[in-house]
């Protein structure tokens, strides 16, 4: 009988690069790669040539020169004689601050709205629908400018608090001043403060660490860990005997008692804002630019998060709810024990991109004069030094780094909640 012939072992011909399906995809990829690299090379050399024709080198030396301008919201100490690098660092911190506050607020509001939109109460559900549709269908820049305009135009200015019969007065027992320049709230102070630790001497990246804060955080974390130990012990007893001992008061106690103790030792008291000269002095000053940006960004992003949460909940089949109800669980426990843990798997991945959106949208801060990295490095520094290419490159690298960090942290969390297949 005939035998199966071996495939022809023909010699390699050049036309096989196109005609042979074994090589074709490789050929196309290599050609595309060469084309891509040529394009990059052309753009680079073109930019370099044009820059040299203009007589402008490519250098980051400007970062070491004195910035010369002031920044109103400073999370670290800074004056106008510090370098552009430090001004950029302050901008980065302001960006991180608004991103952090925004993500937290957006998540809280978003989850509430998303759950309430599924409410059986007609009015509540419709109100939430209106909220979602209004916020996500208007550009966020308009919300930011709108929030700022409302703060500026409707609230009293500090000079209205002056005089025998002032037009405005402080809220919450004379402790909070709400003005069109921002909110002045009492600040925590310590009469027996442990002081600060100065790191990095006089380097542009120097910063201070408040020892008070470190001690308080340490006590808080220790308290929470102890409370969890108490909870674990209760779990063990419940598993063994079926009776769960009361733990709530012990858990509150191990957190609260040491906290009160340490605050007393440090001499904790509140510093109240007071009208002195042109402005309120003392207290913590939340600028209107921060508040407007925070409100607008978080309410806008919350509308998207609400839809993600709603989608996640609806993705869990109704049978689960009914089964849980049949076991005698109450509505709230069904939500927190059965639905949400499963819904999180659907919710987390799109939630990550909302966090990234919020962070990137924070670059609109310049519209209300909030000095984030776009305002300092890519705004005033760019303008005063004229180094467009360098500052924009640094700015993009910073946003990239922030976004990748958020995304990797959220991915770790996603891995911990996703369905574990065995």
């Amino acid at each position: 009988m005939t035998t199966l012939t071996d495939p022809p072992k023909g010699t390699f011909r050049l036309s096989m690069l196109i005609n042979d399906s074994r090589y074709r995809s490789m050929t196309i990829q290599i050609v595309a790669l060469i084309g891509f690299l040529t394009l990059i090379g052309w753009l680079t050399s073109n930019a370099a040539q044009n820059l040299s024709e203009l007589g402008r080198g490519f250098s980051f030396g400007f970062l070491g020169e004195p910035a010369g301008y002031d920044i109103n919201q400073r999370l670290l100490d800074y004056n106008n004689q510090d370098s552009h690098l430090r001004a950029a660092l302050l901008g980065v911190l302001n960006t991180l601050l608004i991103a952090f506050l925004g993500c937290i607020a957006a998540t809280i509001v978003g989850v509430f709205v998303g759950v309430l939109r599924l409410s059986h109460n007609w009015i509540v559900a419709r109100l939430m629908t209106i909220y979602v549709e209004v916020f996500r269908n208007v550009p966020v820049l308009l919300w930011i400018v709108f929030a700022m305009a409302i703060l500026i135009e409707t609230l009293p200015s500090p000079r209205d608090f002056r005089g025998e019969t002032p037009e405005a007065s402080m809220a919450l027992g004379e402790s909070v001043a709400i003005t069109n320049r921002g909110f002045y709230v009492p600040e925590p102070l310590f009469s027996r403060s442990l002081g600060d630790v100065h790191l990095f001497g006089n380097h542009p990246l120097r910063f201070d660490v408040s020892l008070d804060l470190v001690v308080i955080l340490a006590v808080l974390i220790a308290g929470i860990l102890t409370a969890r130990l108490i909870g674990r012990r209760a779990d063990r007893i419940q598993a063994a005997s079926g009776d769960r001992p009361h733990t709530l008061w012990y858990q509150i106690g191990v957190i609260a008692v040491p906290m009160v103790l340490i605050l007393t030792i440090l001499g904790f008291f509140l510093g109240y804002p007071e009208l002195k000269g042109f402005n309120f002095k003392g207290g913590t000053y939340l600028r209107n630019s921060l508040i407007a940006l925070w409100l607008a960004l978080s309410l806008y992003t919350a509308a998207f998060i609400a839809e993600i949460v709603r989608a996640g909940i609806l993705a869990i089949s109704k049978g689960q709810t009914e089964a849980a109800a049949a076991l005698g669980l109450r509505q709230r426990r069904i939500m927190s024990l059965v639905i949400l843990p499963q819904a999180l798997r659907v919710i987390i991945p799109p939630l990550i991109s909302q966090y990234l959106n919020l962070t990137k949208n924070s670059s609109l801060a310049i519209a209300v004069g909030y000095m984030d990295i776009t305002g300092t490095l890519m705004g005033i520094t760019l303008n005063q030094t004229g180094r467009e290419l360098e500052t924009i490159l640094i700015g993009m690298a910073i946003y990239l780094a922030i976004s990748l960090t958020i995304s990797s942290v959220m991915n770790i969390y996603n891995n911990s909640v996703k369905l574990k297949e065995r």
């Binding site: 820059l51 002031d70 320049r181 402005n279 519209a367 760019l382």
Partner: protein, 338 residues
């Protein structure tokens, strides 16, 4: 991912820098239009009139240059620029001339590679405050909240002034004059600072201008002038001498009213040279002989332009002050036309 970032940046840079070429005059002539960068809106310097035609002290410079180069003062495409976008627009070749109350400083001239062609307004930075605040001197502003247009020299002057006087302040950065006005009038800042001429122009647009005072201190020198890109001296010469022609015209008594009469020939050789009836100054610049005639006809001489847009009979109401001719105690001094 990194590649994408780099690519984007380089594309932007390559395109931004790609348009810059040497022979601006040829480009403008071929295009038949002058691209001129002006303010986004500042009464007196650059603002649209009822018909949407841009008018103002800075706009007049654009029109004069268009008249000199193209013989038609209307052959201008105006590009509105903020304090932040103006230099990129000029460096990239988007505009041929920037006439947007821009302060002539060393670093802009030398480091940013621009060429200031002269000064069309000698200014200084001042403060405006509401009268009810009871402030009479800028030295009383310790602790004040100050609205300031970001991306300008005023930002640096402000920091220097408060540091030199050992005072503290709270800066509120603002993008445009309109935002500054909103914040200032709502009391979100105690004072607004910019060039004194700009303050006068802004105050003119307030509902109750009399409730606001401009403090006497002028904390900086702000010579405002038009500028061009570095590297094209011929184009720089054209802009420089067009500005000089406007100033010289006032000194020599040439106005838009009597210029046609003077064209028939005068006793003064300098007037004749300037108007092109004698000599070949236009040819040296690469322009027509009547270049200066067209420049002056565009809006009149320097004095006429000043009186029409900024003078005491306008809402802005500025006195000539430093901007008078040198014989009258001012700083305007055009080099001789010969």
């Amino acid at each position: 991912m990194k590649k994408t970032v780099l690519l984007g940046a380089l594309t932007a840079a390559a395109f931004a820098a790609g348009a810059a070429s040497a022979a601006t005059l040829d480009d403008v002539k071929a295009r038949g239009k002058l691209n001129c960068g002006i303010n986004t809106g500042l009464v007196g310097f650059a603002s649209p009139d009822a018909n949407g035609r841009w008018e103002g002290f800075d706009v007049a410079v654009c029109r004069a240059v268009a008249g000199a180069v193209l013989g038609d003062q209307e052959a201008v495409d105006f590009v509105n620029l903020t304090g932040k976008t103006r230099f990129t627009a000029l460096a990239s070749g988007e505009i041929d001339l920037l006439s947007r109350n821009t302060t002539w400083t060393f670093s802009r001239d030398v480091d940013l590679k621009f060429e200031f062609v002269g000064v069309n307004y000698y200014d200084g930075q001042g403060f405006i405050v509401p009268k009810e605040l009871g402030v009479s001197s800028a030295k009383d502003l310790d602790g004040a909240t100050v609205c300031i247009q970001t991306g300008t020299t005023t930002e640096l002057n402000l920091a220097d002034f408060f540091r030199a006087n050992n005072m503290s302040y709270e800066p509120v950065p603002i993008e445009t004059a309109a935002e500054a006005r909103q914040q200032y009038l709502a009391g979100a800042c105690d004072t607004y600072t910019t060039d004194a001429s700009g303050l006068a122009a802004q105050r003119a647009a307030f509902e109750t201008p009399d409730d606001h005072v401009i403090l006497p201190e002028i904390i900086s020198k702000e010579p405002l002038g038009p500028l061009v890109r570095h590297g094209d001296p011929e184009w720089g010469d054209i802009a420089r001498w067009t500005l000089n022609a406007l100033v010289a015209a006032e000194e020599l008594g040439i106005t838009s009213a009597n210029i046609d009469e003077l064209l028939n020939g005068t006793e003064s050789p300098e007037i004749n040279r300037l108007l092109g009836t004698e000599g070949n100054l236009g040819e040296m610049l690469g322009l027509e002989a009547d270049w200066a005639v067209n420049a002056i006809k565009a809006g009149g001489n320097y004095g006429e332009i000043f009186a029409r847009y900024l003078g005491e009979s306008t809402p802005v109401g500025l006195a000539r002050g430093l901007n008078a001719q040198w014989q009258d105690g001012g700083l305007l001094y055009a080099p001789p036309f010969r």
